[in-house]
Symmetry: C2
Subunit: 310 residues, 2 copies
Amino acid sequence: MTEYSIGVDLGGTNLRAAAVDQDGKLLAQVSASTSPEKGREHVIGEIVDSIQKLRSKQIQGRFAGVGIGVPGFILMEQGIILNSNNLAFLENIPLRDEIENRLGAPVILENDANAAALGESWIGAGADVDDLVLLTLGTGIGGGIVYKGHIMHGFLGMAGELGHITVVPNGNPCGCGNVGCLEKHASATAITCLAELMKVTPHPNPTAEDIFKLARAGDVKAQQVFRSMGEALGIGIATLINTFNFPLYLLSGGPLPAWDYFAPVMLEQVTRRSFTFRNTKTRIEKAKLGNQAGLFGAAFLPFQAQRDRL
Amino acid sequence: MTEYSIGVDLGGTNLRAAAVDQDGKLLAQVSASTSPEKGREHVIGEIVDSIQKLRSKQIQGRFAGVGIGVPGFILMEQGIILNSNNLAFLENIPLRDEIENRLGAPVILENDANAAALGESWIGAGADVDDLVLLTLGTGIGGGIVYKGHIMHGFLGMAGELGHITVVPNGNPCGCGNVGCLEKHASATAITCLAELMKVTPHPNPTAEDIFKLARAGDVKAQQVFRSMGEALGIGIATLINTFNFPLYLLSGGPLPAWDYFAPVMLEQVTRRSFTFRNTKTRIEKAKLGNQAGLFGAAFLPFQAQRDRL
């Protein structure tokens, strides 16, 4: 029998929800606002309404349930957001159970980077492998680890905090209390920060895209910024390869168009720092699903939970 | 019905073999020489003879099979040693099948650090958890990752090469081609090397134990050596915690008696570099089984393979 599920990508300012079938085909999609100033009750209502809107579309097949990707730490068993910078007003309430009760259908909460990694593993760049690591390069760096087709959670759901592995022991300070975290040297934010340090552009607040355009136009300082970013990324990825010996490591996020400017140094570092990489067919590639990865990964969760119960 | 298995710990100069029951009780143990100068045929004969000697001891119960821990890379599916510094003469031959044929019983080859991690997980310091990482501090640093009670192998059996994660990007050179590998800053060998650099003792070739005794006697330079080692270890373990969010990280090997001299700096680094560590009950502890860990882990392999088939 055909089935469908609904994936939700919950962000700090808006949410997207999509009905997806077992083969990963997008059947319908909606979006809504999640502005925190409207309050907790309003946002929970928007989540539930978006899901109901999709269900009312007369989609054929049995409804398998809902997966929701959330930027933050999730207590998986309890279905509670423990900590979320962008959705603090949803912390420490029984969010999953609340939505389940209103829908009368099973709901799974998941960290957004984990959901994105699962999405890539399901129907994206990792569809041909069972194990992969995804690094999402944005304001910070999120990580998701998929092993034997399932997200690795660790004992409290905090696995995959790959933005906070140390790549420069005395490097840039991080809000987490550490110095030299990967995300302080290789995220989109780190790129703009390095560009400001280098005075790449006279304009204040350049974006990673601005720096990329300058690099492409031949600006030597902008190119140096991406080399520095690539070096940090290479140190981090080499550590992941030596640890996991997975066949695939994926990168996604805003800085991806600058691949040709950061990837050569990244690969040089990985080659030097991982004999596993040198001696195996390990792939480091761009993710394929862009900002839809988390939505598809969230939608896959109910299908996977169902299979695991069998 | 009671059952027993035989674990073998194959080293560069000798081997140990033990018959063990399903509860991890040691029933009988033998040892033999594996000197490479005696040749491949002799060493394979010693392995088989040791196992037969144990089987002839009239041990009660069904014989579940043999697990063999080997220092090197194993191609798990093929049962072949791909690379072993200490047992190069056993590389690239169908070693598992050869021993299976001679014994008429199932044999599993496994990397020795992986086997040690599994042993600690079965009946050692990790018997109360499902997930752990073990670092064995010796000439180098070996790593074993146990997840949901099973060794993580990666796609080619090379997972857990934790001695080669970069902890000092411009650190000491390593035979693997990298600089700043964990094992070049925190192994027993690294300790003696640092001690020589520091001129801790006027004698040539001090051992890690010599340096430990000096530290305990109040030698400031010897204490500095262990602080440097603890710092490198702390950077590495913080990365593992941020990656895995496992409940337990174990250390074993020669430098363990110097715990009081390296652990405070190690824990200081981990505390600083991992908010997961700061916010969870993550344990960093000494392994319990000493140099028997690999033997017990190897013995557990046939039991586990049997269970997994059910």
